[in-house]
């Protein structure tokens, strides 16, 4: 039991930090540009596939640097030449533009790399068990993922709190119009923020690619969960996104490792139910419902706290 708790906590925090790497960019982009980037998870996927391709050519470590820069450059270009001209048509058009973009990126990735998973391996330098806990080997690469995401988290915090650009971004989170009135080059800041946000998602892709499956549907699988994180945490709230990322990471990881079901817990109370039409609900295990846990959490949050855990805006 203790083993389960320790390992699941580690995995949950790891998954949560990965989610936060993406959700932080998404939240800042939403706060500043007012548009929820539907294609954010697609940049995570682009990061993973760029990382795969570049690590084949020049190795994993250069890929860790080059892939996010490439994805970030594409992100900045998308903002400058795609999103900005659409801006005059309103928020719905912007959201639909990113929706179409996500669709197109998935198709392009499918054309170039195919539909089946690619062979993105953990670099040999990190391919060993970091430590053994309760007879389970914990891979060093996962510790590396954790270290990278925590390092980026700390770096992001420092940039936001200690630098001038961070101050402007922070100001734009709450008073986007005022920042413009103060004479900052809002267009360039937007492009920069979009580029950095998508680059962060790509970092998450490069480090998650070898550990999870690098496949053309990975954006489609992760995207909705990312939006759940942002809505549960509160739209436009960076601390909220952090709390929600960890919460969903832990909930989902713990749910996967649990095997209980209603039949297991209350089996003797209703022995006939296993054969009736409620059999599905009766005998489904917690591990099986793990994929829908984030969405259940979303519904609960919507009923009891519609603006999200730490959200203040009601738009």
């Amino acid at each position: 039991m203790l083993e389960l708790i320790v390992i699941s906590t580690l995995n949950g925090v790891l998954y949560g930090m990965l989610l936060f790497l993406m959700a932080s960019g998404l939240t800042v982009i939403f706060s500043m540009l007012g548009v929820l980037n539907f294609a954010h998870a697609s940049f995570y996927m682009l990061g993973a596939f760029f990382g795969f391709q570049i690590s084949r050519w020049v190795g994993f470590w250069p890929a860790l640097l080059i892939a996010p820069i490439l994805a970030g450059a594409i992100g900045a270009a998308v903002e400058r030449y795609g999103l900005r001209p659409v801006h005059k048509n309103g928020h719905v058009a912007e959201l639909l533009f990113t929706f179409g973009l996500a669709f197109a990126i998935e198709e392009i990735v499918q054309i170039i790399w195919g539909k089946s998973p690619v062979d993105f391996r953990v670099p040999p330098l990190l391919d060993f068990p970091a430590f053994t806990i309760f007879s389970t080997n914990y891979p060093a690469f996962k510790m590396f993922m954790l270290a990278v995401s925590i390092a980026i988290f700390v770096g992001l915090l420092l940039v936001l709190k200690k630098t001038r650009i961070g101050l402007i971004v922070q100001a734009a989170l709450t008073h986007p119009n005022m920042v413009g009135h103060l004479g900052h080059n809002v267009g360039r800041i937007f492009m920069l923020v979009f580029g950095v946000g998508t680059a962060l998602a790509a970092v998450a892709g490069v480090i998650a690619g070898p550990a999870l499956v690098t496949q053309s549907n990975m954006a489609g699988l992760l995207g909705p969960i990312l939006f759940v994180v942002v809505v549960v945490g509160g739209l436009g709230s960076l601390p909220g996104a952090f709390v929600a990322s960890l919460l969903i990471g832990l909930v989902q990881t713990f749910a996967v490792s649990m095997n209980g079901s209603l039949a297991g817990a209350f089996g003797p109370l209703g022995p006939d139910w296993a054969s009736s039409w409620v059999a599905d609900i009766w005998s489904v295990t917690i591990a099986q419902v793990a994929p829908i846990m984030p969405y259940l959490l979303l519904v609960l949050i919507l009923i009891f706290r519609p603006m999200g855990l730490l959200g203040t805006r009601d738009t």
Binding site: L96, E107, G220, P224
Partner: protein, 433 residues
């Protein structure tokens, strides 16, 4: 208050306008009736049925997006649940020999859609705008994932099938042949289109528009925007359920793809490409998207990419959709000045077509190298053969893209200039007369 409303209301339409209005519907009904006589093959009947279903679905989606301003990424939930309930209903009715004929089954699907929309909508319509879009996406994922867990009802990956001919016969129709299904779909399409058009003319429909444009103002007037959004959501769910059950009847099967994100995305594409600003927009979009997806899939293997790029182009350059583009020209037609625009359109169209051809050539050549690299480089796309291995193909593609882009940019700028001048002239002319 009553007097004020009476004086502010528009005057009742004249008899001629009324006749014109009803004549349109009669003509539509006649066209639907005669369509199978003109195109009698089985394939075209299936296409017509699919178009009818997707018209109902796209219009029901536009109750949300176009009329009430709610961008939903999960509208297929109500379509799919309607379809599943319809399939189960057919099975149950057939097994028990209840006297319910097939034409009434879509009503069961509609009520199912209404029920689930009423259940889910109360929570999700509490917020509008971006939050609603995200919530609809999350709830859609919840339902779609649950469908794979609840295997008894949803039939897992394979889905649930039924036999539509086992039901009570009406006037000797057993609804086996496609022609009878076509007339069933056509009748329901006509009913649903009329009902949804009528809905836009009711006070509720008008309040929906008000909620879309200015929810704060609506609150001041004394309506609750949440309730208005909720009612619109319920109506949209009802009609989506009808569309879903018609699809289930047409295919005699319902599976989890009905509920999925692809279905939700397709209806969004259809409604937006057609144009959400006009009632007829989603109808145009549904016809266009259905024909395009059926036709393109025969011509090229990567039709979905073209589809996505086309959607992006519509969002970027024609946010009003196809109908929006056509309706823009109404003042010019009224003033009889449309011919003034034609030369600049023709000039602008040429480089644009070159650009598109270049892009398609580049895409098809790339596809050849990544998808089936070992095969013969003499490939065929859109029925046109070309050699993917030769450098001439690459050069032509590059020249078309670069040259087409540069010229298209210049010529469209000029066209916009001419457009402004012509529109001003047309307005002045209409005002003068």
């Amino acid at each position: 208050m009553r007097d004020l409303a009476a004086t502010a209301a528009p005057p009742l339409p004249a008899l001629a306008d009324k006749l014109k209005f009803y004549a349109i519907w009669v003509v539509v009904a006649l066209v639907l009736l005669l369509l199978p006589k003109l195109f009698a093959t089985g394939g075209s009947l299936t296409t017509f049925s699919l178009i009818g279903i997707s018209i109902i679905f796209a219009l029901s989606y536009n109750i949300l997006l176009g009329q009430t301003g709610m961008l939903s990424f999960g509208h297929a939930v109500y379509y799919g649940l309607g379809g599943f309930l319809a399939i189960h209903a057919i099975n149950i009715i057939g097994a028990n020999k209840w006297p319910i004929p097939l034409p009434l089954v879509p009503l069961i699907g509609g009520v199912t859609g209404l029920f689930f929309a009423a259940l889910i909508g109360w929570v999700s319509t509490q917020r509008s705008g971006t939050a609603f879009a995200m919530i609809s996406l999350g709830l859609a994922e919840l339902v779609a994932s649950s469908a794979l867990i609840l295997r008894t009802f949803f039939g897992g990956e394979a889905g649930v099938s039924a036999n539509r001919t086992k039901l009570l016969k009406v006037f000797g129709f057993n609804f086996g042949p496609q022609i009878q299904i076509y007339y069933l779909v056509a009748a329901w399409t006509l009913i649903a289109v009329i009902a949804m058009y009528a809905l836009t003319r009711t006070p509720l429909g008008r309040m929906c528009n008000a909620v879309r444009d200015n929810p704060e103002r609506v609150q001041f007037v004394g309506y609750d925007p949440h309730v208005v959004r909720y009612l619109a959501f319920c109506f949209a769910g009802f009609f989506a359920g009808i569309a879903g059950s018609l699809a289930a009847i047409n295919f005699e099967i319902a599976n989890s793809a009905y509920l999925g994100a692809v279905q939700s995305g397709t209806v969004l594409f259809a409604a937006y490409i057609g144009g959400i600003g006009f009632f007829i927009g989603p109808i145009v979009g549904a016809i266009f998207v259905t024909v395009l997806s059926l036709g393109l899939s025969d011509l090229t293997t990567v039709w979905q990419l073209y589809f996505g790029l086309f959607f992006i182009a519509v969002v970027m350059f024609a946010p009003g959709g196809i109908t929006g583009l056509l309706m823009m020209h109404r003042p010019l037609i009224k003033a009889g000045m449309l011919t003034r625009m034609l030369p600049s359109y023709l000039i602008a169209l040429l480089p644009t077509l070159a650009l598109i051809t270049g892009l398609m050539l580049a895409i098809e050549t790339t596809v050849h190298y990544t998808v089936n690299p070992g095969e013969d480089p003499h490939v065929k796309a859109f029925g046109i053969p070309f050699n993917a291995a030769s450098s001439i193909t690459w050069l032509v593609a590059a020249a078309l893209i670069v040259g087409g882009f540069a010229l298209a940019r210049i010529s469209w700028r000029r066209t916009a200039h001419v457009w402004d001048e012509t529109l001003t002239a047309a307005r002045a002319k209409v005002h003068a007369t």
